[in-house]
């Protein structure tokens, strides 16, 4: 069907890819496609590590007593689990992997604006991660104060573990900032001639919004951590009340980053979902401009709501009001996206492959997380559930049900482009079912636990919660098992799967005009856009109108 923007490069131009060049993935390579895959594989390995830590946590919680690990080790397990999942999996996978791999292809340029800086940013990830994992093996053990690392608690737990944690976050944060500089410059300066902001693919909009957040908020976390390390090592008392300091200042600085961090983790996935749905629904995206601008609205609002994490930290009542209302307002741009996605699916010719299943799973799970988010945004409700399992349930619906489902969808969708091979659909669907069932079994009951008052971050609990916790733990085991078919499927198909054509899904964005995998030099000449990114099944209706169909009004189409 769809006529492509540029002639797909003839297959004979790309001689048979031979084995042996896998070595480039272990080198300082400046090709954005190599770097994207480096990010993806590295962060996925950390996902497995973080998952193993979570399984340790759930084994401990399967029974009310402390029986599997010591209390001290339990604290380290959940602290490093969260840190790994956020800083070494979702952030680098969402922005680093897909941002790097897709942006130049979608924008029609040959590489990121600063390829060498890009490689430097990637190569900060493995040392940062190894440093963090290494802290398990020192005498005092790893950081154990939760990923929030609130002082004064973080000042009295093991000092070396805490300091390694700080160092590692500083390294990973710097990497993230360098990445954001690259994304912003590439999006603003390197779009192919003819691609305006208002007809670039929605993933680019999402990365634009996420990169602004990285650039503005990550440095503030760095500032907080610098002060925290002085308290830890040099005997100052910035955040230590016994020396005249104020721990709440740390909380403000921490959440000034860590609330936007949620959007740094979810916006890139919003972007990939907006790419995946129209391709597999064979329909133009509904509400292109609404989705594009709502990303910006989310990133602006995301910067002014951080104190909703501090309703129980002595925040004055009038300030709590402001943060409560501002937080609830974010549901509006988010709702705009969700309804636009649903409207895109409505009446489409759905192709229910693994990518689409995960994308639809993403919408449903994320909506649950979004709704419980509005609940905890409300001050009285939050005071009731603060630091309970309700919050754990909420954040996992957003970060796992949202970000991770979205990342899986993206992996399935672009696997043929990245590897040049098709991935096995049957195993993809088995993976989806296991993930969906395990995920809901693990996290849905936690809402109830939280409402009943079970506190988070404690290794033992009241026996009345035992049955439900056992159910949660069984869910987590299913979730752990669910990664096995995926990893085997991905590895086997990457090596010997069916060869992928240039455009297996009949997509209209620029990456599908290139061979799978794309040539090292993406576009010999800047590509010329012949259609908008989402003009599915509408080429006849577009007629002579210059604008892409996603921006036409109904009257334009009818008058044709």
């Amino acid at each position: 069907m769809a006529q492509l923007q540029v002639r797909p490069l003839a297959e004979e131009n790309f001689p048979e890819k031979t084995g042996g060049n896998w070595k480039k993935y272990f080198t300082f390579n400046t090709d954005h496609k190599v770097i994207g895959i480096q990010y993806l594989v590295t962060s996925f390995i950390f996902f497995l590590i973080g998952g193993a830590l979570a399984t340790g946590v759930r084994i401990e919680l399967a029974t009310p007593d402390v029986d599997f690990v010591s209390r001290e080790l339990y604290n380290q397990l959940f602290t490093i689990h969260a840190t790994v999942m956020i800083f070494l999996w979702i952030v680098p996978a969402g922005t680093g992997a897909f941002g790097n791999y897709l942006l130049p292809l979608l924008l029609g340029c040959n590489d990121m604006a600063f390829p060498r800086l890009n490689a430097i940013a990637f190569w900060m990830i493995p040392p940062g991660g190894l440093l963090l994992m290494g802290s398990f093996f020192i005498n005092e053990g790893a950081a154990a104060s939760g990923w929030t690392s609130y002082p004064p608690l973080s000042l009295v737990n093991g000092k070396s573990g805490e300091f390694i944690w700080i160092l590692s976050i500083l390294v990973l944060g710097t990497s993230s900032i360098l990445g954001a500089i690259n994304f912003l410059t590439t999006i603003i300066k390197m779009r192919t001639p003819g691609m305006k902001f208002n007809n670039m693919p929605l993933f680019c909009w999402a990365m634009f919004a996420a990169s602004i957040l990285i650039l503005v908020s990550t440095p503030v976390l760095a500032g907080a951590l610098i002060l925290l390390s002085f308290d830890l090592l040099a005997g100052t008392s910035f955040f230590n009340p016994s020396g005249g300091g104020d721990p709440v200042v740390y909380q403000h600085m921490f959440w000034f980053y860590s609330h936007p961090a949620v959007y740094i983790m979810i916006l890139p996935v919003f972007g990939t979902i907006s790419e995946i749905l129209p391709v597999h629904a064979r329909k133009p995206i509904f509400g292109y401009l609404a989705i594009a601008y709502s990303s910006l609205a989310i990133s602006f609002l995301g910067l002014i709501v951080w104190a909703h994490h501090m309703f129980t930290s002595g925040t004055p009542a009038w300030l709590r009001m402001f943060f409560m209302i501002a937080t609830m307002v974010i549901a509006v741009p988010t709702g705009i996206k969700v309804f636009s996605w649903l409207a895109t699916l409505w009446g489409g010719k759905l192709r229910l492959n693994s990518a689409m299943l995960f994308a639809m799973g993403f919408i449903s799970m994320f909506v649950i997380g979004g709704l419980s988010g509005v609940m905890v945004a409300s001050v009285p409700f939050d005071i009731h559930v603060h630091d309970t399992y309700f919050v754990v349930a909420h954040l996992h619906y957003v970060l796992f049900g949202g970000s991770v489902f979205g990342l899986y969808a993206s992996i399935y969708h672009w696997f043929p482009k990245m590897t040049g091979r098709m991935i096995n659909e049957t195993w993809g669907r088995i993976h989806f079912v296991l993930t969906l069932v395990g995920f809901n079994l693990c996290f849905l009951p936690m809402h109830y636990l939280g409402l009943m008052g079970m506190p988070r971050r404690v290794a033992e609990y009241d026996p009345q919660f035992a049955t439900i916790n056992t159910i949660c733990s069984i869910g987590s085991y299913i979730l752990a098992v669910s990664t096995i078919p995926f990893v085997i499927n991905a590895v086997v198909c990457w090596r010997s799967g069916e060869k992928a054509p240039a455009n297996p899904w009949n997509g209209l964005t620029l990456e599908w005009t290139l061979s799978s995998p794309p040539p090292e030099h993406n576009f010999p000449t800047p590509p010329v856009l012949k259609t908008g990114p989402y003009d599915y099944g509408t080429l006849d209706k577009r007629g002579s109108k210059k604008r892409p169909i996603s921006q036409l009004r109904a009257s334009d189409i009818l008058s044709n």
Partner: protein
């Protein structure tokens, strides 16, 4: 994994005379990127300034009782040195527009000397202050903020040194190829602006 229409030697050749590695066939966006970097840097400082102001607001007396008075003379002179160095380094950019590398070297050397003088002055002030890093909350913020800024001045000096080193090679810098000079200059201005805010916050407010 990728095939290519461009033969690989050609690719390598292109990447070696480009500055970034992989196929530099686009205009130079480095100054733009540098400004993005300044945004990030500003937000570290903004975070620290906000923390300082909050500490100040929630502490009953500021600076806490018993904090020795800050001398204004030395840091005042120091500020004047640093601020005037911004005008000096700007001369270098004007010089390079005329392809005058000798002029660049001269102005950069003077700027570096002024920056070094600033650091010496700050070291002298540290040595003669009657409070230490852990005396109280004001003292801690004072040392961390000025120290963090001093680190930036030091880094600026390294940048200037790097430009001076590279400028020895004939033709390395010219009116058409002056990114290093511009970057060092912009960074120096940035560090200057931060100092002005810092000076007002710590000494004058």
């Amino acid at each position: 994994m990728q095939g290519s229409t461009v033969n690989s030697e050609q690719v390598i050749a292109v990447s070696q005379d480009g500055h970034g590695g992989h196929l530099e066939d686009h205009p130079d966006h480095r100054i733009f990127g540098l400004f993005m970097f300044f945004v990030a840097e500003s937000f570290i400082f903004l975070g620290l300034f906000a923390a300082y102001l909050t500490f100040r607001a929630v502490t009953p007396a500021w600076p806490p009782e018993g904090t020795p008075e800050l001398e204004l003379l030395l840091p005042g002179v120091n500020s004047i040195i640093l601020i005037s160095s911004s005008f000096v380094i700007h001369k270098a950019e004007e010089a390079i527009k005329e392809n005058d590398v000798k002029g660049v070297q001269l102005w950069f050397a003077i700027t570096a000397a002024m920056g070094a003088l600033f650091l010496v002055g700050q070291g002298y002030e540290y040595a003669h202050l009657e409070f230490g890093l852990t005396t109280n909350l004001f003292a801690s913020t004072f040392y961390v903020l000025t120290g963090f800024h001093g680190l930036h001045v030091t880094f600026g000096l390294l940048l200037i040194g790097a430009v001076l080193w590279r400028s020895r090679k004939e033709g390395h810098y010219s009116a058409d190829s002056k990114f290093g000079i511009e970057a060092a200059e912009l960074y120096w201005h940035f560090v200057d602006v931060i100092w002005i805010i810092l000076f007002i916050l710590l000494y004058l407010l």
